[in-house]
Amino acid sequence: MKFSRANRRGIFLMLDMTPMIDIVFLLLIFFLWTMQLVQDSRLELDLPREPGEQAERTEQAGLILNLLPDGTIIEGDEIVSLERLEVLALAAVDGNASQAVSLRPLIRADRNAPAERLNQVMHVLRQSGLSGIRLATSPGR
C-alpha cells in the first residue's frame, strides 16, 4: 500500500475523544439512576408463569414468604416451620392492627412446589386472622 506524501510531511493525526466520553458519562448516569440497592435479597424461584393482575400496588405485604420446590418455607434468610410461621403471622397482624383486614402477605411460591404445602401455609395464615394473600407470578416468561 502506498502512503500519500502528506503523512511523510508530519501531519499530526488527532483522535477526538469527545463522543466516547459523552457516551461513557451517559452510561454512568444510566447505571446510577437505575441502580437498586435493596431488591438484591430476592430468592431465585421459578414462579408461576402467569401475567398476574398487572396493577400497580403500593401497600405493604407485612410478610413475604418464599416456598421452595421441596416445600421449604423461607422468610427473610430463615427457614421457618409452620409453628414459627404462625408466630410470624400473628406478629404481622399485631404490628399492623389498624390495617389487619387489608394486610395481604406476599407468597413467592415456586410453580413446582406441592399445592398441599401452600394449603398448609394458607391454613396457618387463616388461623392467624389474615383474610387474604398475594401470590407472586412471573409475567415475563
Partner: protein, 141 residues
C-alpha cells in the same frame, strides 16, 4: 491578597484542566456498575381471599352461591373441575368461566396433589374471566 492580573494578561497563558484523572474515575465507576449489575425479572401478583373457617353457628345461606373450581388430580393428571366438567388446560377453563355469573365470586378449591403452578393458573383464569373476587380454599386440612 493581590492577584497579579497584569502578569497573566501579559504572558497570555492558557489555563488547562487535566481531564485524565476524571476520565479514569469515570471508567472505573462504569466498569464497577457493569460488573455488579443484577438483572431482576419483573414480578406481578394475584390477589386472593382465604376462605374463613367454616362455622356452624349461622345457618343462613347466601342467596348466590359462588362458582367453584376444583384443582385436583384426575387419573394422576392435574385438572380443573367446574361442576361436572373437567378441563385439562387453563385456557378452556377461562372460556367456560366467562359464560358464568361473575358477581357471586369464584372459589378455587385446591386439593393435595397438583403443584402451585396449577393453582395459580386457575386463579389467573378466574381473573381473566372477569371475577373480581377470587377466594382460595385450601383442602385436605
Amino acid at each position: 491578597m493581590r492577584i497579579s492580573a497584569r502578569k497573566n494578561r501579559r504572558r497570555n497563558e492558557r489555563l488547562t484542566l487535566n481531564m485524565a484523572s476524571m476520565i479514569d474515575c469515570t471508567f472505573l465507576l462504569l466498569a464497577y456498575f457493569l460488573l455488579t449489575i443484577v438483572v431482576l425479572e419483573p414480578e406481578d401478583q394475584l390477589s386472593s381471599n382465604i376462605q374463613p373457617e367454616q362455622t356452624t353457628a349461622s345457618g343462613a345461606r347466601q342467596d348466590f352461591q359462588p362458582q367453584v373450581v376444583d384443582v385436583e388430580l384426575v387419573d394422576s393428571l392435574p385438572g380443573y373441575r367446574l361442576g361436572s366438567r373437567l378441563f385439562r388446560d387453563s385456557e378452556s377453563l377461562r372460556a367456560a368461566l366467562e359464560q358464568l355469573r361473575i358477581d357471586s365470586g369464584l372459589f378455587v378449591r385446591v386439593h393435595p396433589g397438583p403443584t402451585v403452578g396449577f393453582a395459580a393458573s386457575a386463579m389467573q383464569a378466574g381473573r381473566d374471566a372477569g371475577f373480581t373476587s377470587v377466594t382460595y380454599v385450601p383442602e385436605g386440612q
